[in-house]
Subunit: 432 residues, 4 copies
Amino acid sequence: MSKLKIIPTDLLGEATYNSPLKGKISRFYNGEAVACCDRTQDLGGLENVADIEYFELAGPREKLYFNPAEVTVGIVTCGGLCPGLNDVIRALTFCALESYGVKRVLGFKYGYEGLVAKYYHYPIELTADNTDEIHEKGGTILKTSRGQQDTEEIIDTLVHYGVNILFTIGGDGTQRGARDIVEGVKRRNLPISVVGIPKTIDNDINLIQRSFGFETAVEATWDIITSAHSEAKASRNGVGLVRFMGRESGWIAASATLANSNVNFCLVPEIPFELHGENGFLAHLKERLRDKEHAVVVVAEGAGQELFEGKKGADKSGNKKLNDIGLLLKDEIKDYFKAEGMEVNIKYFDPSYSIRSRRADANDSMYCLQLGSNAVHAAMAGHTNMIVGLHHDRLIHLPINLIGERKVIDPQSWFWQTVLQATHQPTAMVNA
Amino acid sequence: MSKLKIIPTDLLGEATYNSPLKGKISRFYNGEAVACCDRTQDLGGLENVADIEYFELAGPREKLYFNPAEVTVGIVTCGGLCPGLNDVIRALTFCALESYGVKRVLGFKYGYEGLVAKYYHYPIELTADNTDEIHEKGGTILKTSRGQQDTEEIIDTLVHYGVNILFTIGGDGTQRGARDIVEGVKRRNLPISVVGIPKTIDNDINLIQRSFGFETAVEATWDIITSAHSEAKASRNGVGLVRFMGRESGWIAASATLANSNVNFCLVPEIPFELHGENGFLAHLKERLRDKEHAVVVVAEGAGQELFEGKKGADKSGNKKLNDIGLLLKDEIKDYFKAEGMEVNIKYFDPSYSIRSRRADANDSMYCLQLGSNAVHAAMAGHTNMIVGLHHDRLIHLPINLIGERKVIDPQSWFWQTVLQATHQPTAMVNA
Amino acid sequence: MSKLKIIPTDLLGEATYNSPLKGKISRFYNGEAVACCDRTQDLGGLENVADIEYFELAGPREKLYFNPAEVTVGIVTCGGLCPGLNDVIRALTFCALESYGVKRVLGFKYGYEGLVAKYYHYPIELTADNTDEIHEKGGTILKTSRGQQDTEEIIDTLVHYGVNILFTIGGDGTQRGARDIVEGVKRRNLPISVVGIPKTIDNDINLIQRSFGFETAVEATWDIITSAHSEAKASRNGVGLVRFMGRESGWIAASATLANSNVNFCLVPEIPFELHGENGFLAHLKERLRDKEHAVVVVAEGAGQELFEGKKGADKSGNKKLNDIGLLLKDEIKDYFKAEGMEVNIKYFDPSYSIRSRRADANDSMYCLQLGSNAVHAAMAGHTNMIVGLHHDRLIHLPINLIGERKVIDPQSWFWQTVLQATHQPTAMVNA
Amino acid sequence: MSKLKIIPTDLLGEATYNSPLKGKISRFYNGEAVACCDRTQDLGGLENVADIEYFELAGPREKLYFNPAEVTVGIVTCGGLCPGLNDVIRALTFCALESYGVKRVLGFKYGYEGLVAKYYHYPIELTADNTDEIHEKGGTILKTSRGQQDTEEIIDTLVHYGVNILFTIGGDGTQRGARDIVEGVKRRNLPISVVGIPKTIDNDINLIQRSFGFETAVEATWDIITSAHSEAKASRNGVGLVRFMGRESGWIAASATLANSNVNFCLVPEIPFELHGENGFLAHLKERLRDKEHAVVVVAEGAGQELFEGKKGADKSGNKKLNDIGLLLKDEIKDYFKAEGMEVNIKYFDPSYSIRSRRADANDSMYCLQLGSNAVHAAMAGHTNMIVGLHHDRLIHLPINLIGERKVIDPQSWFWQTVLQATHQPTAMVNA
């Protein structure tokens, strides 16, 4: 009989306190396995099951490492906005205070800056009262900033305020910072847990099925593409050009394309394309316009970055404006059709800020509630150096160091094939 | 080394034709396993993995049972409306015609009635043109009806129109009907595939993670509950009473409650409750009104059915009006507070028709696209007597006969515990 | 030369204080005339202009009756909910405090009850801070109740709290109550101004072009009718039956019909109709179903009240349930088609509470801002016994006693003719 | 007795045919006056009424100039998109075909280009069937283009297709073109009526109370400003900068500001401002950020054009990019705060295309229906050289040549004062 191989997450020590949830719920999760980890199974099929790895299932634990009455929780939000940030803050606060009865919850402001004394951003105390309605608005009440801060100074702040558990809501940079804090905390031998709630509107965290805010973002693309289509159809050779989020993966752009049938070209980072030549994007766009007199083009912000390499004036440090694929396409389309002597009417849409600052839709709101409360369950039981997330439809604990490469679209998958069929765009827009 | 145990679906025969998708996509699915079936694993954890069962992964097959050029596809929609019906019809039509190049696609109208000659509902031919924009509206262009029809007459119609593949979009009654057709077809030794796309806005199909339209429905509850809350707060002892869908399970009601923090009582079929007595619902409602002067109550249509048993005048055949838990609650609340000499202002909301007739949200729209095209993949490869659906975040083939008991809320789960915490309602409203 | 004849509103006395707005705005309104009053001109054309009457234009006055520093303002909301109530409360508060610098603003709770000591509803102090975001939600933060209270007790409360200006937000009953307060105040010779902001979601106040919340309500009908249409089309002889607000006039129902082209019958209080007989509604509905197999019927709640007269069991005091025209139609349609042996599938929609509890749309929000601030301008200048409103696109002062008969739809007007053309319904559904 | 002075519109000749509406409606409009024209009355008040001018009231006439059975109607849409274009096309088509029974309705494509033979844009025949659902989408099914075309060639096309009535849907350029066509038609002595439906999303047509699409646009600003506010509040010294439409007037920007209370600076073309200096915009922005750490700035596209005059590289022909006030502000704010050594985080929103391509909201949809049908009434009665529009809440006929200067915001009005109070921005941001 083969034994299950479970991928464990770090524990601060033995869990000895009884959960205050005892008596309220009959079902606790004590290290059960969860559906197979994608690293071992997935695509190829399995001939045997001896080596299948499993993740820990998230959920309330019967025994806690921390004595709730002595716990101070810290929360920080980092990086760009994403629908659901306030939902997660609220869920963490409510679960910590109302389910576990912790001593207090502190919100550190302006991302990791708020954890460094020299910025003078004092934390605010979060309560059920002052977080009760925050999820009805977008943004983050804790405010945010980009970039790392000195790990030792951060730990000094945690010690200063007596923080036992730190929740880091942010992208992979933020979670790398969280891992650094874990290591620093270990070096100092401090009983502090650090649990991350991964945030990426691009939905490209490896092993995580969907990140919060992603569905809200996809929902928001619908109206924009419908507008781009109306604009394109209204003028001769009208081109509705829409840039969506997606730095290294095209999930939003591709999902938007599948959800709204009016897209004719979907350009994503995973599929390189050329602008010029017989089989370049521009020639195909021309063909489409000749045929239908209008076109809708959706492009992920990270698509076509290879097109900037040879461009005069583009330097390695990356002039932001030049690297804007949306504006590049807009200019190139104009120039190309001018040279071809063909009228073209481009309408350019860049709705990213409008999308990421929305409040979470109902389904994301619910997901955030689950992420937040399960992050609290994990930390109270002493888990650390991990994030929570959905994997094969189950909430799991994922060791931070497993967040490695990004989840990207496989060009050979049926998912991308469906995009090709929806758009009727060529499989590859490159010249031999 | 343990071998994987896969739960197979029926096949009409050997798949000998090459898929026309060959060359377009490099990755085919040829009976690979998928993450563990819930029947064996799930909650308890597994000590060994010898007996884990797996489902077939959905996806395009390299070899087909049918020669596409000779295939006539039939589609039928049955039962109540659900967001996404038109999306599924469109996805089936597009995949069959554009990906596989089948001969033709016929839409049978008014549910199973359309497959019975005596109703004179002639089928309509579905094309890429006449289905291109149907998903922009709710409802079903094929129209629908309830109830079964004679299986033999249905098969006569399939033979009459030369239908090789029938797609049945409907709930469990519809899929039971599909199974009967499969059996009849076998008896006559006909090479006809029947593949179901399960439809239940209640999201209660066993083993299926979410059914299409469910997320759209939950999204739609947000505004209604917000309205109920505004009404309740505006008058003294205001009660916003909302009835949502959910005949045998409370997924919509509970999800709506988690997504919108203003609900004070969530009543679902899974948790029986009493109206009267010290620990009955009405006493708790009174306490809430005394404390806050307003309350929002959400009730699934199937909740509290046990309350009708003892009621005078209620007969076994079930007078629909009497069994309406929403109206019952409305009347009981009125009577109770009148007797208590306490003012109460009830505002009753019954938005079911408005919700189920909406167009699918973007995420459901995408899901429908995947359900539809994977149903076509399965049928073209000769699979039959099965449905497609999402299971642990993977699209699978599920033998129809595995649709057994419904998926219901476990009162001891963290999910329901979260509802209790969100509402602050008592764990049980029954008297000892 | 003919002189203008202006319809004046009551003044408490001479305006002697300089407006604090002096220096900020250069344009004050000192009793200028405004476009002709509908009572004299309008439809028939005018042969001469000697007798045209004009209303006072609303707007900030240069001289005030009240010394702002000594003013206490009271606000009360009465009757049913309407989008924009919170906007008006906020506008009154902001204009009084920030533009004029009054001493304080008191919100009386639960309608006129809040102005009667025996109910123990203590007023709350309204500030820029606690009203800043109230317009982002529907309902009324001041809560509301129906019905009149004793005028003398109300005046006692005004005196008790030192209220100099009372703003009454409510329908014609509320404004009649306001007039009673004015008279009582006069009898006691008190320098208290009472200014009304008329509220009727039905949009049927005579001389007032549109009441706040009406446009928001019409906007909200769109989705409901679209749902009703989807439901109707999806089943054989499907009837989507929608009841909208409109007790004595059909403005919402008729506007909804014009805004959404899918309505086949629009029934309003102004146009009596019969159910039975050759030219009755049911015969025409049958004809429509025979022809198209589905129909959408929109009915204002006050339509067809004459149908209840002869009905058994209906008494003069008006059994509410029996007088519900929506439910009556639902039952009558069922019975009729059962008798005719024709299948019919009715889906009934009653969305009134969902509509009236919404937050105001942007345009209504702006209108409320103008209504509120102009009510303050009027009261500060000593005007009383009046309401503010839009008349021929200008904000005016209207003496309360001019609110007489309701504004109703003229069946001979082009407006109604457009409804007839949009629905193709018969001009009259009565038998000779 | 003073006689009314009515401002007449041109008539092609005597109206001799009976309207087919006779018998359907009892009320016709035969040249009645309408509420006073703004040119004479309005602001200053009137001492006497002898010289008041009135406009013709729109509406169905009893006698027609044209014999409906012989009429061919032409429709053309010109210039940028605006919500409601399809509604107007549909209303014209329905009223012409169904109310009057005209012979046919032709839609000329791509604006005035479609009326010039050399572009080979053949007209399409519009019917009740092919226009029935067009108003459910934004854009214009007739497509559009900018710019004038040769008047004589246009008239040649009208003659070629036998067009008796031409409806021109477009802005003031389009209506000037319409006037040229009227003059050409007169010179050739042709019995062709030209009636305009004025289109300007900026709402700045003189004498016209509101243009169609404006309210829809204002409604659409709400979410954008809410997003800008969320973004601004989320980062230190966050600035949400939003550019709205408004070339020569700031109605959308100012209305958006009044409808959403989160705007701190509203910049419009009517109020010049300086960037630098003690009282310049940037100094005030700095003060706001010092105080609150975030700001929302709304700017109409035509605001601050005087700022480009002195700028290096700006030429008289007007480099479009340089004249983009949104981008200028974005750059200037960045530079200024960099020089000040103060962090600033700007999020720029340019949602114009998303707004103008939306479908009309319900209220605009209704207004378009009225505009379209009243344009048909006017033309059928022989009126020409005019536009239809709402004036003091009444639909009137306005001679094209009265469309002169634009309607702009009066900085001294209460309307603008309300904006100042809502934003707390200085009355003037210019240095002495």
